[in-house]
Symmetry: C2
Subunit: 273 residues, 2 copies
Amino acid sequence: VNTVGIVGVGLIGGSFALALRKAGFTGRIVGVSSAATVEKALALAVIDEALPLSDAAAVSDLIYLAQPISQILETLDAIDEYVRPGTLITDAGSTKAAICERGASKITRGRFIGGHPMAGKESRGVEHADADLFRGRPYVLTARDPELEQWIERIGARLLFLNPKEHDELAAVVSHVPQLISTALAAQIGAAAGASTLAGPAAVDLTRLALSPYDVWRDILATNSVPIRAALKEFGGILEGLGRQLNEPGMEQEFLRAAKAARGLRSVSSGKD
Amino acid sequence: VNTVGIVGVGLIGGSFALALRKAGFTGRIVGVSSAATVEKALALAVIDEALPLSDAAAVSDLIYLAQPISQILETLDAIDEYVRPGTLITDAGSTKAAICERGASKITRGRFIGGHPMAGKESRGVEHADADLFRGRPYVLTARDPELEQWIERIGARLLFLNPKEHDELAAVVSHVPQLISTALAAQIGAAAGASTLAGPAAVDLTRLALSPYDVWRDILATNSVPIRAALKEFGGILEGLGRQLNEPGMEQEFLRAAKAARGLRSVSSGKD
């Protein structure tokens, strides 16, 4: 890879550029973004050069789509005619089935591999880009590519391979359902007169995600609605099961099992595995 | 108040004793607890003296029950015959209806007022007692008493008056349902092969409560099962409603409303109101 094209130079795209540099990438990094973002990205030396999509596509060996999902889909509709044959295109979208399907049907001269770095920050925008954003975090790819894999490992991420359907079903459980739970709980607390006054750390913890801006979630919910509905239904069933056992001895087993799972995901997500 | 009797000298009882001292209480503090706890509490100067329940009850002007709920209920069954007429008895249990009902029927020589300091720590035991544990935290009383109110304000808590039923219904929403949500989500993630590997900050946040030990929750769930079931049902309805709207424009309003509620409870619980 001599030239990398970053399409969408926000927090993720900008961080990927910085992470590549820190990992020893010495080639050229071109960025495609709005005029305002491009100006900031150049000033911060996150990218070497700004180009329109068609020109960036034509000069890049690796194209990294880090836009919102709906824009990634639009870029996939448009980009293939500009790329050189064999150019690798990957993305950083939070759902994979819709994007990989579009990639499979529209990318014929280039090669498309879906990706999802499970990393983020509360603050968005290239000004918050961070070379270490991916360090220790899972990074899902939907197919193998030795060179892409090598760079993902060099930036410190934990590489995982999942097909798009598997990814989206798991993401529904670990990310999309938690978001909706938090939104629902905040709504319930907001609607119960006096509840906010009593809220302690439990309510604060569980409503943190409810602060997430909708514009990030619109595309995720729209492109993953079937797995999300299935995961919501499963979650509702588990919660109802707990509700039926409130004063039964079996509840202790439920708590033990859940605590074990909660510890398990911590040991993995803190990289202690 | 010349003598305060703390029954159950753990994190909460010990912290109440230390908080009283810090707030200028110059009387005697007697403790009723297991031999091992009493030894630690005396060594840490959290209490001045350890006595059996009957003796502590006989010498105290204010009796503070800070045991687990089921033990508070047992103490209320036994204590009235030992107290001097008019002695104020209050408690720190996490549910109020069962306790206040027991207090109303069993405390006739003394006076019982239910209490719930909405404060805690992950570490329990008198060795973690903290004079500032109640500072800025809500402290619910189920009835008024000028002298008790004055001490609760002096220890820095935010005094609230709720009847037992109101308290338990709100606690179900802000505390008990969040606990069960977290337990259910951890169970779901634990049961989905590969999910832990993908878990990010969202799953970590929402499964923190699932680490809570069951022994704290047994009594809460048993003494508040009716309000908890009602709140679970309401929560399930809100979540289902979100599930039906995943790719509809109305979802934006749901996110905005929930984010507003989440900000609202933060401004209250951080004392910025």
